[in-house]
Amino acid sequence: MRGFDYLPGVATLELDREACIGCGICPTVCPHLVLEMQGPKAAVIDRDECMECGACALNCPVKAIRVDAGVGCAGGMLNQWLAGFNIRLRNDGSCC
């Protein structure tokens, strides 16, 4: 995102250009303009900008996009990890 850089080289986004049919939905759902139509097919412009929301993969009609989608939230991950030890913090709504 303009003005913000997160960790490079970690995003799991992959586009299979062979499988892409060029429908054009992925560039319209990506909130970071990571995908763009180049000629008849989509292309990944800047993978490090990807926040792995999964909108492109979900909406791709031919499953040409693969991404380990989820929400990048440390608090949520910590709660999940603690739940693995059967420790449950009361969810008081401080997190969505």
């Binding site: 909130p31 929301c53 909108a55 909406n59 990048g72 440390a74 709504g93």
Partner: protein, 336 residues
Amino acid sequence: MRWMPTEAGPVAVISGALTGGDVRGAWKARWGIGRMSYIVPPGLYAIGEPDHGSPVVVTANYKMSYDLVRRALAARDVWLLVLETYGINVWCAAGKGTFGTGELIRRIETCGLPRVVSHRRLILPIMGAAGVKAIEVKKRSGFEVLFATLRIEDLPACLDNDMQATRGMRELTFTLRERLVLTPIEIIGAMKSLLYAALPLALLAGFSGGSFSLDRLLAVLVLYAISVLCGTVLVPMFLPQLPGRMFAVKGALAGCACSLMCFAALGGPARIGRADLAAMVLVMSAVSAFYAMNFTGSTPFTSPSGVRREMNRSLPVMATAAAAAVVLLVIRIALP
């Protein structure tokens, strides 16, 4: 409440104007007061005098989302289809799947939307695309999904522009104002740790020279609160300016700087011993780093893979710093 008769039964007509109560409600939700029950009933609503050709805009049933949408669409004739997201905003609900394909199709059916409008087009926020599979909605309900804009403020311009979103409408931002409105809930969530983290630490630090000092206990509580504010407010404020890619690094740097300023403010080396100073720097940097890392959940650009890596790298460092501070304080008591 005025009701508008339609082919699918009466539909509530809602105003685009927000009342003082709506503004107060949004403020309370920002501060975490009754936030999880700040909801409106899902279903179809009418803004203005919509007819069978009017556009249908879809949103979540978090009242703040609903209020922002109806305010933006005031003075227009549109249908508003509110999905049951259990009081969660569009983006988070899309991530959870409640603002999702299944709920959208169900809601279209239960509201009788095909009988209310003659066209077959729905307007959704782009942030909802993580939960809604447009081709499946089309296949199962006949409605075409149009992901319009990211920000609701841009929707009117997009509607006027024949549903063509400009590049700016499709690119996320995270301005100072957008960051600051998210900080109250962070402060509220973090201040609870005053009880289970700061108090034990303050009790330990309170022992000094064979006696217990209330001043020292209070000083530790205040210093802890300052480091929480550092991680939850200062770091979000200066997020683009602080060095480091990891939020924890930004937080640790800010916390360290804060601790040194507090050291100077408290009288410097004349008043504070080396062990105390070291414990102060370690704890304040770690606490600020932790709450800065927590802010990843509020940003619209951190990927789960990145956050996982950040946590794996930084949590052990924070834990070590906190443990070292405790050891220092214990040694200080044992060796006067």
